[in-house]
């Protein structure tokens, strides 16, 4: 009786190839979904005027960040795996409710709030919204330091959308959280916003066109929902 070839190696190889083929055929793993968190999050807007500098702050940034599956933000790595030409395939939507941004002035903060809301046409455009279009890692990355990216995206304020680019740092906070920090300088007139010039009785106060936006944004990784 002719014996069957009992060598297990080719069988394992075949099985492995089959599994690999099956794996490559199935849909890609879902991205890592990070959801905005209300703690350790803030946005500050700093500006100038003919009288004094001013600042407004908001405690809430809503939205999400989707990152490629399996991405590990271990800052001890020299670089991040899975980059193509240094670009991380990420998807980001961030939004800020205009009314949540409040003046830090000692006197009459509600006046500043109102001026800002009026200037930003809050009634018709209650939110500032940002969508990422490209996230490119800055090299070289120093081990132990946060990963710094050049972020490009579309920023919509007061009904006007402009392309913006600014650096952001992404810091892992434990296993499930990330903190994104960034600073950007904008011009109000680029968004068809007239710099407020309130008349405070003793003379005209004129705000400068340029403002600086600083933010820190904490997000929590949420596991995909089971179907």
């Amino acid at each position: 009786m002719k014996k069957l070839n009992s060598n297990p190696v080719p069988l394992c190889l075949a099985a492995g190839l089959l599994l690999a083929a099956a794996a490559s055929a199935r849909p890609a793993d879902p991205p890592l979904h990070y959801q905005a968190q209300p703690t350790n999050t803030s946005v500050a807007i700093q500006g100038t005027s003919s009288v004094h500098d001013w600042e407004m702050k908001g405690p809430i940034i809503g939205g999400f960040v989707d990152l490629p599956a399996g991405l590990d933000f271990d800052t001890n790595q020299a670089t991040l795996p899975g980059l193509k030409d240094g670009i991380l395939a990420a998807s980001v939507m961030a939004r800020i409710t205009v009314r949540s941004i409040k003046s830090e002035a000692d006197h009459l903060p509600e006046v500043m709030d109102h001026l800002m809301q009026e200037a930003m046409k809050e009634t018709n455009h209650p939110r500032i919204e940002y969508h990422l279009t490209e996230l490119k890692l800055r090299q070289p990355h120093l081990a132990g330091q946060p990963f710094v990216f050049d972020a490009k995206g579309d920023l919509a304020i007061a009904g006007v959308t402009n392309k913006v680019a600014f650096p952001v740092a992404i810091v892992p906070l434990g296993k499930d959280k990330i903190l994104i920090r960034g600073t950007n300088t904008l011009k109000m007139t680029d968004y068809k916003i007239d710099p407020p010039a309130p008349n405070f009785g003793l003379g005209l106060m004129k705000c400068g066109d340029e403002i600086k936006v600083l933010f820190q944004w904490t997000l929590l990784h949420l596991p995909p929902k089971q179907p």
Binding site: L108, P109, E110
Partner: protein, 510 residues
């Protein structure tokens, strides 16, 4: 980063710095130093409501306007619609309805509306309904609370009925303004406070109206500059000649109306009349966290004139003592009577450098205050320009916020700036409306992104929003309401027993 100042930390240096500006402004001539938001006619200017700003001198305003300037400032937008239901349509309830209706004349509060009124007594319900013809009328408060369009309720029923109504209203998701005192027993007051504390997404305001009055905040910051120097004595009174007795067509209705006359349902003169003075004085003396909570009260009471079968005294006195601290040795004397109306209602604060007399605002006059300086007190600088008035042998320096050099010289306010009487109730209801808008907005902003679940983060976010809203539209919350109610009820108990009661912290703690 700029930080807001704590109003309790105004120092003399800050005050004098602002004073010199005020003096300079006064000397420029033609500059009307009017306190924004305090006793001004409509429409309100954009400037803040807290008169004078922190540390500002009497006569100085945060945003002085040149005389004749025609409202050059931008106008604040109106708050979003706020639809009220008023529960309890007696004289005070109807006063509240009228005042809420009056708010509409102010651009900022133009969207305020009374959409429902409630009273189980048809006569009062009809009278209240006639004030706001478009409002729906209810004879059962449960039916009013079931209406989704009612966002906020004002509870103006007899004090002993507050508890159930407030708890049901908060449960129904309504913002609540509850008249003071919160309740006729400490247990009920604590139930209300607990419910208000739990309903963190809603606004609860206690009807301690003077907490919302800009002149009070102006005077508070002035007092905290140390003008009294060493606190020596505080005294307050509430005097009226009236019986409190109500007549009705049936004995049952008369019993219902005369709840104030019986100890089982009435917190007495200390609670019904005195609570506003007790609250104001203990607040001005530092409040519960800065030595302003009395450590004991000794009470006295008599039924002198209205001996008509009631068991509630018509004349009471209370002597409040304070713990070791900034008010060591100070005693606060309060008396209230239904037997004599002389000098009505006021507070006096006596210090080693000066004394301050404060009169609360009411229907016929605006809130006012005067300072009487000792001859050896440090000159403040601005008082040479301030208006003065004679009080018997004394000369009082007016602490009316628009008492500038100009007004002193002409002895009357500048044309176009005639002070209009805005009652404390109106300020309180404005604050309630504004805070509903602010807190409602903060709830929506947060919930849109993070959901409505009760989390520590949500509570912290709203606590910040509440703190901020109250800094612009100050008002008494459940904490102040409970503090004042407990104090008034214990003072009433001491008066009835004619004895001394130690005020333990546990009486006030939730």
């Amino acid at each position: 980063m700029k930080k807001k100042k704590d109003s309790s930390k105004v120092d003399r240096r800050d005050f004098l710095k602002n004073t010199s500006v005020a003096t300079f402004m006064a000397m420029m001539g033609g500059v009307e130093l009017a306190a924004p938001g305090c006793g001004r006619s409509q429409p309100v200017p954009v400037a803040g409501r807290k008169s004078g700003g922190e540390g500002a001198a009497p006569g100085a305003a945060a945003t002085p306007q040149p005389a004749g300037a025609e409202a050059p400032l931008t106008q604040k937008p109106s708050f979003p619609p706020c639809r009220y239901g008023v529960i309890g349509a007696g004289p005070w309830g109807r006063k509240i309805i009228s005042t809420l209706d009056l708010l509409k004349n102010d651009h900022e509060f133009a969207n305020t509306e009374v959409v429902a009124v409630c009273d189980h007594y048809a006569g009062w319900l009809n009278r209240a309904g006639d004030l706001v013809p478009k409002a729906e009328r209810f004879d059962d408060y449960h039916k009013l609370l079931a209406k989704p369009e009612v966002q906020a309720v004002v509870v103006a029923t007899p004090t002993h009925q507050h508890r159930d109504i407030v708890l049901d209203a908060l449960k129904a998701g309504k913002h609540v303004y509850c008249e003071a005192p919160l309740a006729h027993t400490i247990a009920d007051a604590k139930d209300i406070a607990r419910a208000a504390q739990s309903a963190f997404k809603l606004v609860f305001q206690a009807g301690l109206q003077e907490r919302s009055h800009p002149h009070r905040h102006f005077l508070l910051s002035f007092l905290r500059t140390g003008v009294l120097n060493r606190n020596v004595l505080a005294r307050a009174q509430w005097h009226k000649k009236e019986s409190w007795a109500r007549t009705a067509s049936t004995p049952a209705r008369a019993d219902e109306l005369n709840w104030r006359l019986h100890q089982a349902t009435s917190p007495g003169l200390m609670g019904e009349a005195g609570i506003h003075r007790l609250d104001a004085v203990t607040w001005f003396l530092g409040g519960p966290h800065a030595g302003g909570r009395p450590s004991a009260v000794t009470g006295f009471s008599s039924l002198i004139l209205w001996n008509d079968g009631r068991d509630v005294p018509d004349t009471v006195q209370g002597v409040f003592e304070f713990p070791e601290g900034p008010n060591s040795g100070l005693r606060f004397l309060f008396d209230a009577t239904l037997c004599n109306s002389f000098d009505s209602e006021y507070e006096m604060y006596y210090g080693s450098d000066s004394a301050i007399l404060m009169q609360p605002g009411n229907e016929s006059r605006d809130s006012k205050a005067w300072m009487f300086k000792e001859v050896d007190a440090t000159p403040l600088g601005w008082e040479v320009y301030a208006r003065t008035e004679r009080f018997g042998a004394e000369t009082g320096i007016s602490l009316v916020a628009n008492a500038s050099k100009q007004t002193a010289l002409t002895d009357k306010p500048a044309a176009g700036n005639a002070p209009a009487v805005i009652e404390p109730l109106q300020y309180a209801l404005q604050a309630f409306t504004a805070n509903i808008s602010e807190i409602g907005g903060a709830v929506k902003t947060y919930a849109d992104d993070f959901g409505e679940a009760d989390t520590p983060e949500f509570r912290a976010n709203l606590a910040d929003a509440r703190k901020r809203a109250l800094s612009q539209y100050p008002a008494a919350g459940w904490e102040e309401g409970l503090e004042a109610t407990v104090l008034a009820l214990k003072a009433n108990e001491a008066a009835l027993k004619k004895q001394k009661i130690e005020l333990k912290n546990e009486f006030f703690d939730l």
